[in-house]
Symmetry: C2
Subunit: 431 residues, 2 copies
């Protein structure tokens, strides 16, 4: 029986493994986490709207009924394309086919030292860390007597005006202006400063200018300070240096870029500047028809000449495409002569969308543009549709509905606080 190894259980890897149902192969699906993460809603965990388990699904349970699939919670050490073997932290996995669905990580454009001061948002631990730090900053501001420090604590800088940055900025603005408004006694959370910094001339640059302009106006009406055409010069502890402006912030979130995991540069194949793997039209690596790259880790110009974007729908389509190729070849006779011609991948652009805030979003699809409440309903519908797992859908819908009605956030819980980082307190009775 052929051996297929899939590295990564994000949208691309998970979909590829799902689409291989019934194929005559033994499949090993390797991921560092035990859960598949619904990345598009990660910002809601970071902004206390949802609990972590509500946007994650145990990988094992997805394939509980698939005896031929063994899920391994492990980390990949190296890949030997010549020997057709993957070496994980402790074992060796030989393969006949390898699917690289490693995804991407937060990228700092060569400024690795900025990461310590401006964490990214790619994992559940990232999201709960951001939630903790942002909520703690308000707690510290409440008990702080120094106006300057108080202002710093109540400042959140988000670097990167893509969908994640826009969604975080909107969510934090609502958190401060509505959700927390009546909770504190010594600070007015409506005074919180949310700054969204984008190097490009406009937000959501993948969308047309009209939607970008609407997004900027909408965010500003929510109290967000938007700085476009503004490249970050430096990031230090609690400080973001912009051209001609220094921002002091209690929280700095980096949503400006991604890059491939270092592993991709060790394979001896061509990568782009961000370390993504250059792939053939069939998504295989040049010179390695038995190895495929799918999802964000692939730099793909599809059969129609379109540069495939790093979006969930693209990852899912790529995973499905490779599964189709594998099914055909597993069914075909051994000798290459008998190998069916491989179809080139064609990306079907379903469009893109981003939510800005309560009943406001932007969406572009099939040449049409939507904004405001209609776009928000579309966004809600699409995201619920994609959410993995019945229970998640219901629980998430329930909470959105509740948050929408009551302007409240159920997950406003601080956990995992190191004692030394707890806030100092004040006393209105101070002797």
């Amino acid at each position: 029986m052929k051996k297929i190894v899939i590295l990564g259980a994000g949208f691309a890897g998970l979909e590829c493994c799902k689409a291989l149902r019934g194929a005559p192969a033994a499949i090993a699906l390797v991921d560092r986490q035990n859960h598949h993460l619904f990345q598009p809603l990660l910002y809601q965990v970071a902004s206390a709207g949802l609990a972590a388990p509500e946007i994650a699904h145990p990988i094992r349970s997805v394939f509980a009924g698939r005896e031929e699939v063994s899920v391994l919670m492990d980390e990949v050490g190296s890949v030997d394309l010549a020997a057709r073997a993957v070496v994980t932290r402790s074992r060796r996995l030989d393969y006949d086919y390898l699917v690289l669905a490693l995804g991407v990580k937060t990228g700092y454009f060569g400024h690795a030292d900025w990461e310590a001061h401006a964490g990214g948002l790619k994992t559940l631990d990232d999201a709960t860390r951001i939630r903790r730090e942002v909520l703690l900053a308000f707690e510290k501001a409440e008990v702080c007597d120094d106006p300057a420090e108080k202002a710093r604590l109540m400042t959140i800088v988000i670097v990167g005006g893509g969908p994640t940055g826009v969604e975080l900025a909107g969510a934090f603005a609502e958190l401060a202006r509505h959700v927390l408004r009546r909770d504190f006694r010594r600070i007015d959370t409506r005074q919180a400063r949310i700054v969204l910094v984008e190097a490009a001339p406009r937000l959501l640059s993948m969308m047309d200018e009209e939607l970008s302009a609407y997004t900027k106006r909408k965010l500003e009406s929510m109290g967000v300070t938007v700085r476009t055409g503004c490249a970050v010069r430096d990031v230090r502890g609690g400080v973001v240096e912009l051209p001609g402006e220094t921002l002091e912030a209690g929280n700095i979130v980096w949503a400006a870029g991604v890059e491939a995991v270092p592993l991709t540069r060790t394979l001896g194949v061509e990568t782009d500047a961000a370390g993504r793997l250059m792939v053939e039209k069939d998504l295989s690596l040049p010179g390695h028809p038995e190895v495929f790259a799918v999802g964000d880790v692939a730099h793909c110009v599809d059969a129609a000449g379109t540069r495939v974007p790093g979006l969930c729908p693209a990852a899912i389509q790529m995973g499905r495409h490779v599964a189709g190729i594998l099914r055909a070849e597993l069914a075909a006779p051994e000798e290459p002569a008998g190998r069916p011609e491989r179809a080139g991948f064609r990306y079907f652009d379903k469009g893109s969308m981003a939510t800005i805030g309560r009943s406001a979003a932007v969406a572009a699809s099939a040449g049409l543009r939507f904004r405001g409440f209609v776009a928000w309903l579309m966004w809600l519908f699409v995201h619920l549709l994609f959410l993995v797992g019945f229970r998640n859908k219901l629980a998430v819908l329930l909470q959105w509905f509740y948050a929408y009605l009551r302007y409240r956030r159920g997950a406003r819980i601080i956990t995992g606080v190191a004692p030394e980082s707890r806030p100092a307190t004040f006393s209105r009775f101070a002797g």
Copy 2:
């Protein structure tokens, strides 16, 4: 305006503060956490049934509309009864009335060194730690080639046969036998060994023998090994020493005892062996009519001569009782002569209950005994009734219903794993 300081926002402190609504006083409510925790369901977070935020509620939002209440997230350093002042990590809170609602922490009967090897279950961080470690143990067992180590990883020892121990044992048994059953390829999770150890002759000793016997039978029918009349001799890393038996376990959970926080022994007033504060019939400290102890931290024999148990209903009743005394005295003229006679606290015993597993529980109330499905429905009803916060009730009900129908757990998510503690992997393809 009189100053009231309440230390602790558990059931007793929260209820006391709630019941003081409208009283002419400035209230400071101090807690180390930013949330009130619904302790009775903590075991469900530990056993992956619920997400942490679903059983917690932000303290601030409970008192959002109460301008006279300032919530402080802080830790208490010391209390000076003579000077009528509380010193927190950084400030001083003077008070006219002090309510000590500090609760209790996990107690090891003088074996403090056991804590490192057998953590307790009192906070959300405890619960997520247990969830992580138990789920990780199964992941490690799946990729482990040593039968002995595999067996150890799949053994969970729970020390303490009270409600928490019984509920944890039942929940872990269901997790292993039903929820995870089809998720793994190299281990049969039904082979997992759950051992419940109790020093007393029977489980749930607060209930009558018939219910204890039923609980033991039920747990054993679920595959739990029950050791009663069995006092732990020693706990080391991964090892529990019992009389004549050594248990090797991948996880050891301590649910055997509680003790008051060390602070109580620094007040210069009488405490019991566990450090609980001895109180007068009105719940004040002897010689300090302006200081009260409520909830688990109080050692109280009520006006009827009943030793008040450490249960939520008792804590709530005590908090309400003290609020009543304070309301009367805040309304009364200053001079002691004018101070109204204080009523003694009378505990109203609503009974006790514990859930064992899917549609099985035991309950004793008003001389009546219930068990099985009826008791489980009672348990479900009572706990939902008590859960703080509309949204929590709905989300929790939804998940219970789903878990009940589908034998699934939504919160089966591993987070916060240190890289070095990730499982090693195996390969069915190993070369």
